[in-house]
């Protein structure tokens, strides 16, 4: 067997040229993807809501890069169908290694299709509560109420209970307040209903309501409820809580502190002796 060095070197040269071309194609596709993304940010970002724009940007950006990578493989004689067949085998091998990543990617796609949460929505995902700041291919980022950024893998988001506080037209504000036993319940009720009727964010429909929740040890406990649009729910709640004491006091309704009346049964007479205090 004769080893032909010239032929071998020619083969290497051809492969080297193809690798260079492939590299150029990949770099060009990344470059084009960056230009397209910048153009989209300038022209579309202000016009579209963030929940619609961000997935669209990701789709276009990664779409161009994937298309570039596939084009770069063409000079090597690797077709898409061949890649898929090879991918089938490689998938088994790589799949075990990158199970979580693939799971996150697929979950990310389902999240984009189903949209149980959108960027800007106040949500609770599992035990994390806050505002969604980004939904990317592999993970979702939430800014918690106290300002921290929590990154949750998309598979965990998809498999968690998601509470979206923005997807309803109104959220209920509920406040509990105790009034003294010598207060007029009906007057307290009317006062609190009027307070909510005067508040701009307490909705007319569903109507606000006040009712006796229970007769507790130290007070009659009233439940005060109104419905507010989700973006102003928290502001409404703290505003009502602050106003409540003032309006009740103005109406002569007392909010009692815990107290105990002691009645002594069959009490014996107590002898009291007054002693004059010594002076000097």
């Amino acid at each position: 067997m004769v080893f032909n060095v010239t032929e071998w070197l020619t083969g290497i040269k051809v492969k080297f040229t193809e690798v260079v071309i492939a590299g150029i194609i990949i770099v060009a596709s990344v470059f084009i993807a960056l230009i397209v993304r910048n153009t989209m940010r300038k022209s579309l970002q202000q016009r579209l809501p963030s929940y619609a724009y961000k997935p669209l940007e990701n789709l276009v950006f990664y779409g161009i890069i994937v298309a570039g990578v596939l084009s770069a493989l063409t000079p090597f004689g690797i077709s898409l169908s061949g890649l898929l067949v090879a991918g089938g085998f490689a998938g088994i091998v790589v799949g075990f290694a990158s199970q979580q990543t693939v799971s996150n990617f697929i979950s990310g796609l389902f999240l984009l299709i189903e949209q149980p949460l959108r960027i800007g929505d106040p949500v609770t995902v599992g035990d994390v509560s806050g505002v969604v700041v980004d939904i990317s291919i592999l993970s979702t980022r939430i800014r918690t109420w106290d300002g921290y950024i929590v990154r949750i893998p998309n598979s965990a988001v998809f498999n968690s209970n998601i509470t979206n506080y923005m997807r309803t037209r109104a959220r209920r504000v509920e406040i509990t307040v105790g009034i003294s036993y010598d207060s007029d319940i009906e007057k307290a009720r009317e006062t609190l209903i009027k307070m909510m009727q005067d508040h701009p964010y307490c909705l007319v429909n569903p109507a606000p309501e006040v009712f006796v929740d229970k007769y507790a040890e130290h007070s009659i406990v009233l439940k005060v409820r109104c419905w507010a649009p989700p973006p102003v729910w928290f502001a409404t709640k703290i505003d009502l809580q602050t106003r409540m004491k003032k309006v009740l006091e103005e109406a002569g309704i007392k909010i009692p502190f815990p107290q105990l009346d002691v009645h002594i049964k069959d009490a014996a007479d107590m002898r009291v002796k007054l002693v004059e205090e010594e002076k000097g």
Partner: protein, 214 residues
């Protein structure tokens, strides 16, 4: 200069300090000396915070619509926009604000709420006009029904004004069918001879319609 209109108060002093107040707060802005500011009526959706693009007016007495075609008149609130160099710099509300959900709490729409008298002609309600209230004319068509109120989109629409400085919303079309009223706001003035009060979007494509249960 001081303007008081309903619950709104706007002050512009000689040093160019503009203060605009309503029941939901005050805004203070510096205006360059020599510049002009204008006060113009706009649809009431921005105060205290923009949460919606629609208005829902409940009638003090529901209207018995006998089917066919008819016109309804009622009053709806508007806000005052303060403009500088053709740009709105702030808004104030001459009326108190309430919101409501029109329809179901999950699928319905949050709208600015107002309760008004309604009648079959403009003359029926003229006596009830107060600062911050403008006329609305609705052309109703369809099946007989009792109509408790009308909800309609107003975001970005122009308001009209007549020679007596009465304000008008554009004409609304309502279709009554199978227990719902479908309301579509046009950009047409409700009467002839009205002028545009503020340069809103005069011609709009794809104006949204609001469907409300009755």
């Amino acid at each position: 200069m001081e303007v008081e209109y309903g619950y709104a108060r706007i002050i512009l002093d000689e040093r160019g300090r503009l203060e605009a107040c309503d029941p939901y707060g005050c805004v203070s802005i510096r205006i360059p000396l020599g510049d002009e500011v204008y006060i113009e009526p706009v649809p009431a959706i921005a105060r205290p915070q923009q949460l919606t693009g629609c208005l829902y007016v409940e009638f003090t007495e529901p209207i018995a619509f006998s089917g066919g075609k008819s016109s309804l008149w009622f009053l709806a609130p508007f806000e005052l926009a303060i403009t500088h160099k053709d740009r709105i710099i702030t808004r104030v509300s001459p009326t108190k604000v309430k919101f409501t959900v029109v329809g179901d709490i999950v699928d319905g729409v949050v709208c600015r709420y107002y309760k008004s008298v309604a009648g079959f002609s403009r003359g029926d309600i003229t006596d009830h006009v107060k600062p911050g209230l403008g006329f609305v004319k609705v052309d109703v068509e369809g099946e007989a029904a009792t109509i408790p109120g009308i909800g309609f989109y107003v975001a970005g629409l122009p308001l009209y004004v007549d020679n007596e400085d009465f304000i008008y919303y554009p004409r609304v079309e309502a279709g009554v069918s199978e227990g719902v009223v479908q309301n579509k706001t046009t950009t047409d003035p409700p009467l002839r001879g009205l002028k545009v009060a503020l340069k809103g979007r005069r011609y709009m494509l794809l104006l949204p319609s609001l469907t409300q249960p009755i």
